[in-house]
Structure formats: structure tokens, C-alpha cells
Subunit: 454 residues, 2 copies
């Protein structure tokens, strides 16, 4: 092997500011609406839930927002993360394409989630907040926030979806190791949780319900705020540190991507790698195709409706315009728990509507097959979420082979699968099913979208 | 925080050679003996088990042995690994000591083990070997060899201790993801395994038995060799890439350790961080105290005898002089499976006999307590094995506080605990016991050591 495999960025070149794509949007993002009045909300409406610094980031149209020094200091525990040329994967696929991946699994939580957990904890602590609440599915986000909270001496209360709480106890153990308290949702700790349990005592929970519970607790106490791991503008912006580093590292490799691929659940890791490239093109620079890959069993971008919806099941959040399957939609169980959300980040949805990004969907067995191929070629076992990106990349690489094109493909390998080996076991045992939703249920969920006059 | 936290080494400065401490020993290592003749063995005696390049490394007294370019290329996937100043841990402990840790959990297998798995697979592939056999307990070593094997297109057959195979299936899933075959030991695949099962069909297995099975398979076929994850000289030498990097990184921090701490099972991660410092001192350079920390339930260095013993339970290996609890000794169950071995690397044992290193032992609950404190302060959840090093470091740091000494303490954080969260759960639930061996059993095992005339 003659060309280098890994591109490491000198710490001194770690980005000093996040990139805010709102500065470069050709059409501004639709307003966030109050669900009662259907009028646009202002920063003050969000103050019960979030510290003001984060609210201002949420609505900012400044292109660069400085990464505070204490956040950069913690980022340095694992950042800049490596960019790797996937020589062996290229060889296995017999493709003329060049494949690069940015690897976020080197963080203490094993995923990209600490990129936003740390600044969220920092700005909360700065504002005098004592406690953060949040929701988590399989636990990737919950463990990242628990990690960040422990560094800023914040209490962290995590509502974990009941079915994951029971079946996947190891991420919970990580959260507890970091000192967080983890509660199965629906719980007896909130009035919304109690109402759900009253209707169905054995309810398995969902992300939408857990969000409602976390929001309810945060809204009740002045010293408590709510933290979300994806979807919101400021969360996606924090992740742009990934793509900003990547641009510099790709320059070290003398390369610019023809295609950028990321998996999408709420949209944060995808935004992290893609937004800096999209912004570059929007400002007149070189373009790349941008491909979002989502699970076929929860296809908000490919099968959802673009319209106003709630972010949670209990309808406590404002209304945001996004691709949604309906807040009452319950995705069938699959192992990429981080992608099991009914909606999509408003920013990602907006870019899709503007025709700036593409989207595709694959089943979980297709994605596990891709992940195993990647692990054997490149040595890293991807998280089930990341397998969706891997699958998308393999499809692009095979297209390049068919077309004889030496394109450059870049993707975000957003986390390792070390907590998800039970899913790989089921895959090897042939026990993985590609369960789908019923079209009828989807139609009902979409019919229940709130009615908002244009 | 003003002083830097992380010290990254430029890739160009990654070591080009491993350090062989045999070049600097004041007294040479005692000979390895044939168990039948009790005469020293030569390279040819080991040829059925290992490729000749590794055998020559095993007996070499050259100070530097070049790291082949293809191995360096793979090392670059995660090397140079970070050196981190544990500012927050220092603060929590209110110690004037400076604490640094080298973090090996960033490798694809999550531990230091790939440092030797990769060169072992490389030299085997170079020699035309088609298949490697090995043993594993909890699976840290087995997954590292499976990773390395996949990169060089080698079949890998892992004999996993039955009790771990049944109770900790996730590392097995990692091995299978990399394409290795994993068999519960004792197995029906070897005559030794069958003899053990004949005597006790429900035998839970042990590392010593699994080694015997792996050796038996390798000895039978020309295209098959055996790979060991610790104990042997060449394995420890491969790990010195850790300490060599650390010396350069500590220079970036303008620091030299007063104390170097590592956990010891077979001795490989300890050797990796410590041997380059020991060599420096043996060549007349600055000295550091070197402290090995082992589990109180398997205390080969602190309670074992220094004498000739077999490396395995089936007595298929040569006799090596080491600190041993006796090859028939069965350590009680505890969660640091990587430290559950009756013997200690001959090189580490020899240095202990020469008074060059110190040793201490702690119970597993003491070590989990230390690990949780570390995770909350520094953000990384250590593997149960690494918790022993953390415990040793905390004791040194508290001593520094009592004595008012601003010493510099360095340790090897040899792996993350993401596969071991069940153990943390048991710790939080109060279910962890500090089971000990019976003194009677230890005495019997020691009485059974082979008789070798001086």
C-alpha cells in the first residue's frame, strides 16, 4: 500500500467555530409555531426549556459561532477525529471509486453525540442550570449527555424507552457509571407518563413519549433544562465540527468528495458531515451530491409528508415544519434505535425540499450485511445506525464500478457497534427480520397531522 | 484550564522499531526448557507452533526490531494513541501529583491487544500460514486476533473459555463479525478437550485448558500456527510501541514519570508502557518506580512462586521460569478476565526477581470503585482490567497528597469497558463479591510445580 490510510489533523487546526448553515440558506427556514396560537414563537417561549445561549444559536443567522474554550478543551479528548481512506473496502468492492470515512467512534461515548452533549452541558452550566433532562432510545444520546453532565457537575435525568431499558441494559450501565439517573419511560415520574401507563400499564414506550416526559420535568423547575440529541438547529450546528475538520483533512488527501453520505434519524450526524460541504456549494464553491440514508422501516425523508408536526407524542413541543410520519406513528422495532424517530430535522427537511440533498432507504438486513463487509475489510464494527451510511456508500461504489467512474465518496462513520453486538448476533443467527409498518397505520398517522393554514 | 489535556504525536514520529528489553537486561532471562529432557530448547523446537520470524524475535537480544511497513500502515488506523493529562482526576483527588494516562482504547478492538495481533498475523501470513489458533477468556484477545486475521486473509479459530462463551456472548459476536470461528473450550475438537469433557462434561473451562486446545490444533497442521496474546517475549516487545510513543509525548509535556503503573495478567500491557522506561534506566538514564498491579484473587506476582512451570493446563507447552500459582490453579471468577491467568510473563517475573519492578494487588470491588471515580472525572469508562491500574494510580496520588509531593504518575489505560458493562451493573447493584481462592488449593497447585534441578 503506497498512499496513506489515515489523515490526522493537528490539534491547532481544530475548528474554532461551528458552521451555521442558516447563514447560507437560499430560502429561510419556515417559522416554528406555537401549537395553540399557530403564531411564530420567539426566544422567550423556549426559555423554560433551554438556556438562552442555545436558544440564540437556534435562531441565529450568523455564519460562524465560536466554540467556547472549555468546550474545545474537552473536544480535544477525542478531536480532531481521524479521516480514513478505505483502501481495503475499495479493493473488496473492486471499485475505481476512492472511499473516505470520518470516524466518530473514538469519542468516550463511542459516537458523534458528545459533539453536542458537551456544549449543551457547558452552556447550561454557564446559565446556572443544575439539572438536565433528556430522552434516549438504545442509549447513545443518553450516555453522551451523562458523560457531558459529569464533566460540568450537572445532574442528568434520562428517560429511556422502556423496551430498550429492559432489553439493552448496558448503555444504561454506562449512564449510571457517569452518575446519571435513568428511568424507564413511560414512567410514574410525570403526569404524561402516568396517563400513558393508565391507558396501557405494559406500554413499551417510544422516543416521542420519552421526549414528552423529559420536557414536562424540565418545564416544571427553574434549575432544570431539557437537552435534545438531534433535530434542533443548534444541535445540528454543533455537529458541523465533524465536517469542518473533514474538509481540512480531505485537502491533506488532495481530494474533494463527489458524493457525501450520512445516515439520518433525527439528522444530526448527517448534518455534521454534510452541512459544511453544502454551505461551500451554496456560497458558489465546488458542489458534491449529498445523500441521506434512512431505514426503510422509518422512512421520514422518503415516505413522510413535509408539514408542521409536533416533535413528541404528548404534544408539548412547538410545531416545526419537517418531513414526518406523524407524531403518533410507531416505527416497528429494528436495531438502529437512533434512527427510530417519526420526524426529521427541520434543516435537513428544508434542504430536501429545496432539492439540495437526495435521500434513500434500506432495510436493516441489507444494512447489517453492509456493516459486516465493512468490518471485515476495514477492521471497525459500525453501529447499526452507521451501517445505513455504509450501505449507501457501497451502492455508490458499485455504481462507480458499473460506470467506470473514479469518484470520491465520503461518509460519516458516526459510531462503533460495541454496544450493539446482540444485534449482530441475531443477524448471524438469521434471526433478524425486516419488519415494516402497515401502510394503513402510516396513513392514519399522517391524517392526524395538525392542520396549519399556509 | 490552562495547561493542555491531550498530547498527540505526529504520525511521522510513530516508532519505526519495537524495543527489545532483552538487549539491556543485567542478567539474561533463564532458558526455556523442554518438559521431557529439561534441556534448553532452540528455535527449531518452537517451529511447529510459531512462524520463524516470531521465534527469532522471541530469542533476540537486538535492542531494536523494525516494525514492518505493512504493520505500521495498519497501526496508523489508531496509532499514535493519545496521551492525556488527567487534570480532573487530580482535582477530585486533591493531589499535588500530575497524572498522565496513555489511552489504548481507541483501537478497533478497544484495547492494546491489536498492537501484537497485527504483527503476529502479518508475520504468519508472510510465512505462508493459512490459519491461526488461539485462546481467549472474555474475548479481548480473541477479538483483536480476529480483527488482525481479517486484514491478512487468515482463518482464525478461537477457543473461548466455556463460561465466558456462555455468559459474555458479545465479544464472540465481534469475533464472528471479523469472520473468525469461535468454539467453547473444552471442546470436542481436540483430544485434550475431549479428555477434559470425559472427566467432567459440564467443565466451565479455563485459559490454561483453552491454550492446550489451541496448541494441539496448531501442532497438527503445517498451515496452522498458534498465536498468544501475552506472556511471550515477542508479544511484550510488540506492545513497547505504547511506551515508546509515551516517552515522546511526555517530552511534549516536558515531563518524566516518577512512577509508571500498569495492570498485570500475563504482563503485556504493563510491559508495553514500562519496558521502554526500564530500558532507559538500565542504560543509565533517569529512573522511575515501576508498579505492577494485579488482582488479589489471582496474585501471581505477589503470592506466586518464582519457578519453572507450564504455560497451559494440558502441559503441552515448554517450561518457562516465571511467577506462577501453579498450572492447576483455577482463579475464582472475577470480571477482569484478561488477568485470570496462573502465570506471569517470564520477562516481567525476571524484572521482579531483580528488584527492578514493584507489585501490589487489589480486590475487584476496590478496582471498580476506582474505575467509576475515573469515569466520572475523565469521561472514559475503563475495562475491568484497566481498573486495576487506575486503583494503583489513585493510591499513589493519595500518597503524594499525604506526603505533599508533586510527583508525576503515568499509567496505561489499556482498554475501554464498553463490553464489560454487565460487570459495572453488578457493581452498582451491590452484587459484586470479592471471592478468593482457598489457601489450601493454592498450596496444592504450588506443590504440583514440575521439579527442575537448579
Amino acid at each position: 500500500m503506497t498512499s496513506p490510510t489515515k489523515y490526522l489533523l493537528d490539534e491547532a487546526r481544530m475548528p474554532r467555530a461551528w458552521y451555521n448553515i442558516q447563514a447560507d440558506l437560499p430560502v429561510p427556514l419556515p417559522a416554528v409555531l406555537h401549537p395553540g396560537t399557530l403564531q411564530p414563537i420567539g426566544p422567550a417561549d423556549l426559555a423554560p426549556l433551554f438556556p438562552m445561549d442555545l436558544i440564540l444559536q437556534e435562531v441565529s443567522t450568523e455564519r460562524e459561532i465560536e466554540i467556547p474554550q472549555p468546550v474545545r478543551e474537552i473536544y480535544r479528548l477525542w478531536r480532531p477525529s481521524p479521516l480514513v481512506r478505505a483502501h481495503r473496502l475499495e479493493k473488496v468492492l473492486q471499485t475505481p471509486a476512492k472511499i473516505f470515512y470520518k470516524y466518530e467512534g473514538v469519542s468516550p461515548a463511542g459516537s458523534h453525540k458528545p459533539n453536542t452533549a458537551v456544549p449543551q452541558a457547558f452552556f447550561s452550566a454557564q446559565a446556572g442550570v443544575k439539572r438536565l433532562t433528556t430522552e434516549t432510545g438504545a442509549g447513545q444520546w443518553g450516555s453522551a449527555l451523562a458523560f457531558a453532565g459529569s464533566l460540568f457537575d450537572l445532574e442528568v435525568l434520562v428517560f429511556q424507552v422502556r423496551v430498550s431499558y429492559d432489553q439493552k441494559p448496558y448503555r444504561r450501565a454506562v449512564m449510571e457509571t457517569y452518575g446519571a439517573r435513568c428511568v424507564a419511560s413511560p414512567s410514574q415520574e410525570t403526569s404524561y407518563g402516568r396517563s400513558v401507563l393508565a391507558a396501557r400499564p405494559d406500554h413499551p414506550g417510544s422516543l416521542g413519549i420519552a421526549i414528552s416526559e423529559a420536557v414536562e420535568v424540565a418545564a416544571q423547575r427553574d434549575d432544570t433544562k431539557y437537552a435534545l440529541g438531534s433535530v434542533l438547529n443548534h444541535v445540528l450546528m454543533h455537529q458541523t465540527v465533524v465536517g469542518l475538520e473533514t474538509i481540512e483533512q480531505m485537502q491533506m488527501a488532495d481530494a474533494w468528495p463527489d458524493v457525501v453520505v450520512g445516515c439520518t434519524g433525527g439528522g444530526s450526524n448527517f448534518a455534521g458531515i454534510a452541512f459544511p460541504y453544502i454551505g461551500h456549494a451554496l456560497r458558489g464553491g465546488q458542489r458534491a451530491r449529498i445523500v441521506a440514508v434512512e431505514p426503510a422501516a422509518c422512512p421520514s425523508l422518503t415516505r413522510g409528508r413535509y408539514g408542521y408536526d409536533f416533535g413528541d407524542t404528548g404534544h408539548m413541543t412547538p410545531l416545526v415544519k419537517m418531513h414526518t410520519l406523524g407524531s403518533s406513528f410507531t416505527p416497528p422495532p429494528f436495531h438502529a434505535g437512533g434512527l427510530r424517530y417519526h420526524g426529521m430535522a427541520p434543516l435537513v427537511s428544508h434542504l430536501r425540499e429545496l432539492g439540495i440533498i437526495e435521500a434513500s432507504a434500506y432495510t436493516q438486513t441489507q444494512c447489517f450485511e453492509a456493516g459486516v463487509l465493512f468490518a471485515r475489510a476495514e477492521g471497525i464494527v459500525p453501529a447499526p445506525e452507521a451501517n445505513h451510511a455504509v450501505k449507501g456508500v457501497i451502492e455508490e461504489a458499485l455504481r462507480c464500478r458499473r460506470e467506470g467512474r473514479a469518484e470520491t465518496i465520503l461518509f460519516n462513520l458516526c459510531g462503533h457497534g460495541h454496544f450493539d453486538m446482540a444485534a449482530y448476533q441475531r443477524y448471524f443467527a438469521g434471526d433478524l427480520r425486516d419488519e415494516s409498518y402497515s401502510e394503513e397505520e402510516l396513513a392514519m398517522a399522517l391524517a392526524g397531522l395538525p392542520s396549519v393554514p399556509a
